[in-house]
């Protein structure tokens, strides 16, 4: 009954409704689209494409906001659960918390990539990607419904007397499970992996920008770097922010006492992951009809954005590594 929960549930219901509505129109478009026809149905379908774009844009915007709002609400709710000190504990209160978060992340990236493809398609005078993009829309519908049901299950399964764990024990090295494994990753090799992946992303991005090819490779590298960066956050970057060798929690960095540094970090990382995915998603269509004029420029912009955002992430993380008064012993 917390207002944050109500806001999230309301928003999620609306987003699912919008995605379902968009999907329904998408199916209609898929079945009947014929650009060369001047029939009334075709004209209606072209009008429908505007609706689908608008609905998806709002859905994406909400997914992004709700990702942060979800973490924030989980953080606020931690008082209700004995053992929870931050969002990590709240999310662990039942089996739906972490899967829900991952699902929200997936939906955000999916919807964002779809919008990139949609934008490219709209620039072309022959709608070359129309069938592809509406086919891609179809899996987004069950994902949206799944997210809604997980959210309902998660929040209805929250009972104040549940004893859960604090992030200190969830993300501790001794605890079995992914969180523990991530926390237990050795510091020095992780640092190497982090900087290596960022450097590779930068280099492949510059190569793609100058040579006009290699975008698929770049996209794959940037996605991998996204995962490595997330793992690095938990493994060692957070330690420098918290100045504690055992505090691996990825959520506490969103709190006031750490200067809300989590926001620029996650914004840069998520933004970069999205644009990197977009650049790769467009690669197969570079030569399809009118896309030959549209896609190269768009890919360049997306690649440039990814490089810049990842650079920002790396700079912030490195700043903390260098200037924090904490020093991790080399192991």
């Amino acid at each position: 009954m917390h207002p944050g929960i109500l806001a999230l549930l309301t928003g999620s219901i609306f987003t699912s409704l919008m995605i379902l509505y968009a999907g329904w129109y998408g199916v209609r478009i898929l079945r009947n689209w014929d650009l060369s026809s001047g029939s009334e149905l075709q004209l209606f379908l072209e009008k429908d494409t505007y609706l689908v774009s608008t609905l998806l844009s709002y859905a994406l915007a909400f997914e992004l906001v709700s990702l942060f709002l979800f973490i924030f609400t989980a953080d606020r709710l931690h008082l209700l659960f004995s053992g929870a000190m931050c969002a990590a504990g709240t999310l662990n209160a039942n089996g739906f918390g972490y899967p829900l978060m991952i699902l929200k992340l997936v939906n955000f990236l999916f919807a964002g990539t779809w919008l990139v493809i949609n934008h490219a398609d709209n620039q072309g005078y022959d709608y070359p990607l129309i069938k592809l993009k509406y086919t891609l829309l179809l899996p987004l519908m069950p994902l949206a419904l799944l997210e809604l049901s997980y959210m309902l299950a998660y929040f209805s399964g929250l009972h104040a007397d549940i004893i859960t764990s604090c992030c200190g024990s969830l993300f501790s090295m001794e605890r079995p499970g992914i969180a523990g494994d991530l926390a237990a990753l050795p510091g020095a090799p992780m640092r190497l992996a982090f900087y290596a992946s960022m450097a590779t992303t930068l280099l492949s991005g510059i190569f793609a920008l100058f040579r006009g090819k290699g975008y698929c490779l770049f996209s794959a590298v940037s996605s991998l770097s996204f995962l490595v960066a997330l793992a690095s956050l938990i493994s060692f970057i957070c330690l420098y922010i918290y100045e504690l060798p055992t505090h691996h929690c990825p959520f506490c960095i969103l709190q006031k006492q750490y200067g809300y540094i989590g926001y620029p970090l996650y914004a840069a990382l998520l933004g970069g992951a999205l644009t990197g995915l977009g650049a790769g998603a467009l690669a197969p269509f570079r030569n399809r009809g009118s896309m030959a004029r549209v896609v190269p420029a768009l890919q360049r912009r997306l690649t440039g954005t990814t490089v810049v955002l990842y650079a920002i992430f790396t700079l912030i993380a490195s700043y903390k590594l260098v200037f924090s008064s904490f020093r991790l012993g080399m192991n």
Binding site: L6, F14, T54, Y58
Partner: protein, 378 residues
């Protein structure tokens, strides 16, 4: 980029002009919308402020309170337990507390009576909270007649009225000397209402509580953190209930907004037809409608939030106190500490602007897809 910004600016200008040309419709929408935002904002601000006050108040509460339970009900605890509890490692102090409730038949109010020894009032004198003073119409020097357990009258002189700033906690409070308290309630000797336990290290409280229960199975230790959690949960539950009831109002608003948005007058339809015939694309008209929606939502949001803020922090939420403070005769009068919480503002935004956006997406699109040749034929 520059072209894009100019385009947005131009279309925003036209949106503002368009809104002002249909003042009646848009003002009525804005009024209803602002009202909804105002109500939701008031509830959310009020709950959060109360939670914050409760948190601040509980800061001074004892880390751990030990009560005795007999047959599942609260019973006075032997003061002798205090010695054994102080011996537990980590306990810094144990203080017996004497307090209870007194039902006053005359006013129908429940007072909280607390034995206070630091410093104590004079014999047969009391410190009272401003709620008590108001309800019983007492000033310093007046007398408050109470009845002891046997029905015999006990007259107490009002020595001091506690400052108004403490209203939230002390509205119904009566403080008296320890022996006056024991005499009034015929309180059993060697017993206290509960024991307040302090610990040097907060992290050890759970362990201490466990040890206390092991040593004295008839006791129930209550941690401060649990009290905070309960307050939070109750406030959230209450505000949630009200918000859910409000959902009906919000739903009506959505329908209202939808109706306003779909109800394009012939004039508006013609105008859009004209725009499209002179070179505005569907995307441009959609942007126009979006900007109109943004202007209305943001205006309603900000005015509703500001009014809600003023209502809660400067008028003490007079419209809602009954639902949120609980049923009681003694309503404290107090000023809540204003607090602006970005998280709350974001939640409010989603709860109020979100439904409006969803309600107007399809009507905006319908408006934007009006055929231009309809304008040619009109």
């Amino acid at each position: 980029m520059k072209r894009s910004l100019e385009r947005h600016r131009n279309i925003l200008d036209f949106a503002l002009s368009s809104l002002s040309r249909r003042k009646g419709k848009n003002l009525s929408l804005l009024a209803v919308y602002s009202l909804i935002v105002f109500i939701i904002a008031s509830i959310v601000f009020f709950t959060q402020a109360l939670k914050r006050e409760a948190g601040l108040v509980l800061q001074d509460a004892p880390d751990l309170v030990v009560q005795r339970m007999v047959a599942g009900r609260h019973d006075p605890i032997p003061v002798a337990y205090a010695e054994k509890i102080s011996a537990i490692r980590g306990v810094s102090e144990v203080k017996p507390r004497f307090w209870g409730y007194y039902y006053d038949a005359v006013t129908g109010a429940n007072f909280t009576l607390v034995a206070c020894d630091d410093p104590p009032p004079a014999a047969e004198s009391i410190f009272i909270g401003s709620g008590v003073a108001r309800t019983c119409r007492l000033s310093e020097g007046d007398f408050l007649p109470l009845r002891d357990l046997n029905g015999a009258p006990a007259l107490f002189s009002v020595q001091e009225i506690l400052p108004a700033a403490s209203e939230l906690v002390a509205a119904d409070l009566i403080q008296m000397r320890g022996d006056d308290f024991r005499r009034l309630f015929d309180f059993p000797r060697g017993r206290a209402t509960d024991l307040a336990v302090g610990a040097a290290n907060q992290n050890e409280l759970k362990t201490i509580a466990a040890k206390i229960v092991r040593e004295f199975p008839d006791t129930r230790p209550i941690l401060k953190s649990e009290m905070l959690r309960t307050y939070d949960a109750v406030f959230d539950w209450r505000s949630g209930m009200v918000l859910v009831v409000l959902a009906v109002a919000v739903l009506s608003f959505i329908i209202f907004a939808w109706d306003k948005a779909t109800g394009l007058s012939a004039e508006e339809r013609k105008e859009i037809g004209i725009l499209k015939s002179i070179g505005w694309e569907t995307g441009d008209v959609l942007l126009l409608k979006t900007w109109e929606g943004v202007v209305i939502s943001l205006s309603a949001y900000f005015s509703g939030v500001i009014l809600g803020y003023l209502h809660v922090f400067f008028f003490s939420a007079s419209l809602f106190e009954h639902a949120l403070k609980g049923w009681s005769v003694l309503y404290p009068e107090f000023r809540l500490t204003p607090v602006i919480d970005p998280y709350l503002l974001c939640v409010l935004f989603l709860l109020t602007v979100g439904p409006y956006v969803v309600a107007t997406v399809v009507p905006s699109w319908l408006a934007a897809t009006v055929d231009p040749d309809a304008a040619m034929r009109s």
